[in-house]
């Protein structure tokens, strides 16, 4: 039986319009508002509160929560639920995200819409479970084998944890792609004010379901109804015969693994369906950039001390600004390049030893100096230490 999203019921279950909640809970709220009807997950600090929230809330709106035996099973269940017609998600942290990599690639190859919330913590391995980090920003892009594009958001506030979960579902439905919400232990455990958006403030995108002739329908070809590179979706049980495989496949979905052009054609379609729209989906915030001579380029939790440092620097007469990438992948290369042509120096604060730093260097003007400001060990940068980096610029 197909899940019917009932906005009145969802809002009743979520409660007051203005609340003071944790980032993780805001992810669960965003999921409910998006119309999630399936959550499969395995508890892991600092992401467990997403699952807790979902376990408590999802059954009350008619959805299904399952605690799976591990993270591999979790994403497998999510992929299955998505093919059954559900908006489905999971939530994890570093070690669980590592386990999910194989099926993350499977979801990319099979063009399965779903959302993975990764509340990042420090690694390698089990690292510092209770502390935040931005250690998986490259893993989300390159962690599964082969060639692909990633779609990944990075929220800086609790409100964004809610809003970007909705955005993640919208892009996942639009592109039939597993979208990652790259939050972290810092933002995930903060409590802040959240305003639940009204229906008209949060337009939802739904996958285009297959409607054309069942005998001639091609489940892995460009859409016959929209002309898009994203195929129409033949939900299991809707009467379309669909073979789903991670092997290189033809438009019918059947394995076709021995010819170079077949593979290139398929992989290029599932990449360019996303990269063709890079500029359209770009989501950045520009702070004090108009006359800036030095700028932070950052994202997620690191953007918070950076924004404080910009305000402190401006008070001292330093022409500092900031570019915050809300959507980190696909990488907003055109915007970063524009900023690099304007400022003399870009500083990249990250809670890792340098990850998004690399595409920033790759796409910046060679005349712009790019400086990494790494911080590991589970603490955010102090505004003061970032201010000092601006002062020596």
């Amino acid at each position: 039986m197909k899940y019917e999203r009932d906005p009145v019921r969802i809002r009743k279950v979520l409660g007051e319009k203005v609340q003071f909640i944790q980032g993780d809970m805001a992810v669960a709220y965003g999921g409910l508002l998006s119309g999630v009807s399936f959550f499969g997950g395995y508890p892991i600090t600092p992401a467990s509160e997403v699952a807790e929230g979902m376990a408590r809330l999802l059954p009350r709106v008619g959805g299904c929560f399952i605690q799976m035996e591990d993270e591999i099973a979790s994403i497998a269940a999510v992929i299955g639920a998505a093919w059954g017609g559900a908006k489905a998600m999971t939530a994890t942290s570093g070690p669980g995200f590592s386990l999910m990599m194989e099926n993350y690639g499977y979801a990319i190859m099979t063009e399965t819409p779903c959302v993975i919330a990764n509340v990042q913590r420090t690694g390698p391995s089990t690292g510092q479970p209770t502390l935040g980090a931005q250690g998986d920003m490259m893993q989300v892009r390159w962690g599964t084998h082969g060639d692909m594009e990633a779609i990944a958001y990075a929220p800086s506030t609790v409100q964004e944890c809610l809003d970007m979960t909705i955005d993640s579902f919208n892009l996942s439905e639009k592109y039939r792609h597993p979208v990652c919400l790259m939050t972290d232990g810092e933002v995930g455990h903060l409590r802040e004010k959240v305003v639940i958006p009204e229906e008209e403030e949060m337009p939802l995108i739904e996958r285009v379901e297959a409607t054309t002739d069942k005998e001639t329908f091609l489940p892995f070809a460009e859409s016959p109804t929209t002309g898009s590179k994203v195929p129409d979706f033949p939900t299991f049980g809707s009467g379309y015969r669909t073979y789903v495989t991670g092997l290189t496949h033809n438009d019918k979905g059947f394995p076709k693994t021995d010819k170079q052009p077949d593979h290139e054609r398929l992989v290029m379609r599932i990449i360019t369906k996303i990269t063709d729209d890079r500029e359209e989906m770009t989501d950045v915030e520009e702070i004090e950039l108009e006359d800036a001579e030095v700028a932070f380029v950052t994202y997620g939790a690191s953007a918070r001390p950076a924004e404080s440092a910009v305000a402190m620097a401006r008070a001292k007469g330093i022409k500092a600004g900031m570019l915050r990438m809300k959507l980190c992948w696909p990488f907003p290369r055109h915007i970063v390049n524009k900023v690099s042509k304007q400022v003399d120096k870009i500083i990249v604060p990250e809670m890792n030893l340098g990850q998004m730093y690399h595409p920033i260097v790759e796409y910046s003007d060679p005349g712009c100096e790019i400086v990494l400001a790494p911080k590991i060990g589970g603490e955010m940068h102090l505004p003061q230490e970032l201010l000092e980096m601006l002062e020596v610029s």
Binding site: V18, F20, E192, P305, E307
Partner: protein, 179 residues
Amino acid sequence: MKREVRICGFGGQGVILAGFIWGKAACVFGDLNAVQSQSYGPEARGGAARSEVLISDEKIGYPRPTGVDLYVAMAQEAFNTYRDDLHENTVIIIDPDLVPNHDIGRPIYKVRVQKIAEDLGNKIVTNIAMVGAMAGIDDLLDPESVKKAVVDSVPKRFIDLNVNAFERGLEAGKNARPE
């Protein structure tokens, strides 16, 4: 206008809830911005725990304290542990029964919040009495907003007990003088 608040004690005393109520009072029942964070050990009970709340009428960037304005301690170990970043104007509130060794050579507000809770018949509301004392001593938040946040955050069947604890703490806080 901003305030950086740290409430500390031992795990199980409800310092996280106290910080949660303080932040909720500021941004749900008041019109300020608030960010609350917390840290505690792996134990459900015992160990030093702290809850930190930043309140401002402006957007809050860095979400952790950089100089605590209001420091509240409900246990000796926590009082000894979480005091490094106080400045000369930091307002300090303690319960002298819970923090007996508190002579650090500066004025401190001493409110016997555990005694208030015991008089009400349940030590469990010590934290709420402390929230009341905070509202009586620090004038940034409207005590009515804090009371609403208390009512909104505790189990329904214990609202009266908590409101009583809050109001007695508030009264004690209003009458307290740094000594």
